[in-house]
């Protein structure tokens, strides 16, 4: 057989495979679409979230007496693909609700399309405030970045009994700037005083200038809502200088690398975060964690938990609406109050952003341990 014939045969086989591969759709199903970055730069997020959604689907496989059929489309971690994906879910797959995307930029590309089609979409982990801004049908299961800053302030005042704070901000990251701004606002409102504000930039190695200004101000705590590398190095240098006040930070710092780089210096560092499996208080959370660890053979993580919550919220809204019509589901979604989800109690706001409890974790003996839950 010639080369040409061979390739023609191959092409023919491919065609046959496509022709046979019709979607296995039954009539009595309700389609829920998920668009996630399963490949590309942030594939890890997409995969963790898809795991969470699958487990959530096993826990609650039906709604309105019908079986739920999940349709997954990959976005390659790309905006153009994300917009295509939502368009496909809406037009071709005719889904009644959408889960995703994992990152904010891609959700912002997908949301205008679901908004125009009046289909509710819930992102598990898009924390950029702009994602739901001005949108009727865009929701998220996580809290937005500024909220973490507020909760951190409340924790500092109420639990750590701090009266003065030093803030160290990585100005190269909007995430850090956002957290810090809202921390300062809330901390001052609660009667605290910010005695020192210093700035660093991602990639900095030497923080002695900032730390000596902190040392002179003698704060009760340091709030440094930065990523793990900078926080680890900063903690090391702070301890070397003899600054021994507690350090409080956000979820961006909670990575294993923090402990690897920081070692003993990061012991006792506090974090505000979305989820910790020991904080699981609701029945749904216990069920989820048990099933997740049995099926997936790994620890339940925040991404999976928030994705499961996105799923549960959407199903709850459809159930409450008694219908799959977009506007009704949307109204039911906004009305959700104190829903006992995997990551705690969730109350949805008109803005599309939930009010929910936040967990505080801490480094102890080289591990992240759960400290307490701060309710809104």
């Amino acid at each position: 057989m010639g080369r040409r014939k061979g390739s023609v045969l191959l092409a023919g086989l491919c065609c046959v495979a496509f022709a046979l591969a019709g979607p296995a759709a039954a009539e009595d199903t309700i389609k829920i679409g998920a668009y996630l970055p399963m490949t590309g730069a942030v594939a890890a997020y997409g995969q963790m979230e898809w795991d969470g959604i699958q487990i959530a689907n096993e826990i609650k496989p039906t709604v309105l007496g019908k079986k739920i059929e999940l349709v997954l489309v990959d976005t390659k971690s790309d905006k153009i693909e994300a917009a295509n994906a939502v368009s496909r879910l809406v037009e071709k797959e005719k889904v009644v609700g959408i889960l995703g995307e994992a990152i904010s930029g891609n959700s912002m590309a997908g949301n205008p399309i679901s908004e125009a089609a009046k289909i509710v979409s819930v992102s598990p982990t898009a924390t950029n405030p702009l994602v739901t801004q001005g949108k009727q049908y865009a929701f998220r299961a996580c809290f937005i970045d500024p909220f973490q800053g507020e909760v951190a302030a409340r924790f500092a005042v109420n639990e750590l009994k701090a009266k003065t704070a030093a803030v160290i901000i990585d100005i190269a990251q909007d995430y850090c700037v956002g957290l810090a701004n809202f921390f300062v606002k809330e901390f001052v409102k609660l009667g605290g005083k910010v005695v020192s504000t210093t700035y660093i930039q991602t990639g900095d190695q030497d923080f002695s200038a900032q730390l000596s200004s902190v040392q002179a101000a003698k704060p009760d705590i340091i709030y440094a809502p930065n990523y793990y590398t900078e926080d680890a190095l900063m903690a090391k240098q702070a301890r070397d200088l003899g600054i021994n006040v507690p350090i409080l930070t956000g979820d961006g710092a909670q990575a294993d690398e923090l402990i690897k780089i920081g070692g003993k210096a990061v012991e006792g560092m506090y974090f505000t975060g979305h989820f910790h499996k020991e904080a699981a208080s609701t029945d749904l959370a216990k069920k989820y964690i048990e099933l997740f660890e049995k099926k997936k053979n790994k620890e339940a993580d925040a991404f999976g938990a928030l994705a499961a919550d996105a799923y549960f919220l959407l199903i709850e809204a459809i159930e409450k609406a008694g219908s799959t019509e977009g506007p009704k589901v949307r109204d039911a979604m906004v009305a959700i109050k104190n829903f006992a989800g995997v990551s705690g109690l969730i109350t949805m706001q008109e803005s599309g952003n939930p009010v929910k409890s936040m967990v505080i974790n801490k480094v102890k003996d080289g591990k992240f341990v759960y400290v307490t839950t701060v309710n809104p």
Binding site: R3, S7, L20, M38, K79, A83, G105, P112, Q133, V177
Partner: protein, 347 residues
């Protein structure tokens, strides 16, 4: 009827057919189909303009994503309403006068193109001092610089938050209009004396110089024209997906464009058009292989990423069987088509 009249008539006929097809889709097509067609047109514009530098001048330039970014941000900042800008810029307000300006879409596209051309002009001096791999690295670096600046210049680009809420101005007429215009301009340019000089530089720069061709002048011309159309396409892209952020235009975009023009045939405008259209359509069509398949006797679960695998296989097959891409360096033209037809009838 002489051949030039015949060719002109055929071209007009082809454009009319294209217009009719677009009209039908605009009227009766689903939003999804229209989106794919828009993507197709934008990728055609990008690939054809990129091909001018890489294919016709033989310069390995790896920074079109920078020009696309500049075009997209310029045009987005010009069409957004002042109210929307105020809502979006939550960390630092947008600098004056951009915060109050709002211009029509067409003006913003041209402004995007001009801004991209301006930056291309600025970097052309260092870029064309080097050749080959070094030039590739300089342009690659520029692409990264632009991305980092977009992240850092909070009061201009809204940093990593990105821009959102752009009006979806990009219709089939706009995207295909620009695509057709780009193809026409680039074809005219390539077939002019400037184009022949560019090809001469590609074949042998020293020989071209000996014949009196000024390499810098011609490379600069190609670079600027390419940057202009990349900038315009960036504006179209921004108003198609209605949101932009620094991560939209990474090196991967350049990488995709490079694949498109290599598969189409370096130095062939029609090849770039064909490959870009296939790329935009194929990416969506191949999604079938990622959904669960029921082959009757066995159900295969969907594996995300299978598209990429299949895509790579297709790429390898093309390169194996058509070593210079689909079109090589030849073009589709009416003359060729009619000659082929005549040979067919004679046989």
């Amino acid at each position: 009827m002489d051949t030039s009249t015949r060719n002109a008539l055929c071209t007009i006929l082809l454009l009319a057919v294209l217009a009719a097809v677009l009209y039908v889709f605009q009227k009766h097509g689903t939003e999804y189909q229209i989106r794919i067609l828009n993507n197709m047109a934008i990728f055609i514009t990008l690939a054809v303009s990129y091909n001018l530098v890489n294919g016709f001048c033989g310069i390995l330039h790896l920074g079109p994503n920078a020009f696309i970014t500049i075009g997209a941000y310029t045009s987005a900042l010009l069409t957004m309403s002042p109210a929307e800008k105020q809502l979006s810029f939550i960390i630092e307000p947008l600098i004056w006068p951009l915060s109050v300006i709002q211009v029509p879409f067409a003006v913003s596209l041209i402004a995007g193109g001009i801004a991209a051309t301006f930056f291309a002009f600025l970097i052309s001096f260092p870029v064309f001092r080097v050749r080959g791999d070094y030039l590739a690295i300089v342009t690659l670096g520029f692409g990264e610089v632009v991305r980092v600046l977009c992240n850092a210049m909070q009061s201009l680009t809204n940093g990593p938050l990105g821009l959102k809420g752009l009006t979806p101005y990009t219709t089939l007429w706009w995207s295909w209009g620009v695509a057709v215009f780009t193809v026409v301009v680039i074809t005219k340019l390539v077939n002019s004396s400037y184009g022949r000089a560019m090809k001469a530089i590609r074949e042998d720069e020293t020989a071209a110089k000996a014949m009196g061709v000024d390499p810098f002048k011609h490379l600069l011309l190609a670079f600027l024209v390419s940057a202009f159309f990349s900038g315009v396409a960036g504006g179209l892209l921004a108003h198609l997906i209605t949101t932009i952020s620094p991560t939209l235009f990474t090196f991967f975009l350049t990488f995709n464009l490079l694949i498109i023009i290599v598969v189409g045939g370096l130095g062939s405008t029609s090849g770039a058009v064909i490959a870009a259209a296939l790329f935009a359509w194929g990416g969506e069509a191949l999604r079938v292989v990622e959904s669960p398949m029921n082959l009757g006797f066995i159900t295969i679960p969907g594996i995300p990423g299978m598209r990429m695998v299949l895509f790579s296989i297709i790429l390898m097959v093309v390169i194996l069987f058509a070593r210079r891409g689909i079109m090589g360096r030849s073009e589709l033209s009416w003359d060729r088509l009619f000659t082929a037809l005549r040979l067919q009838t004679k046989a």
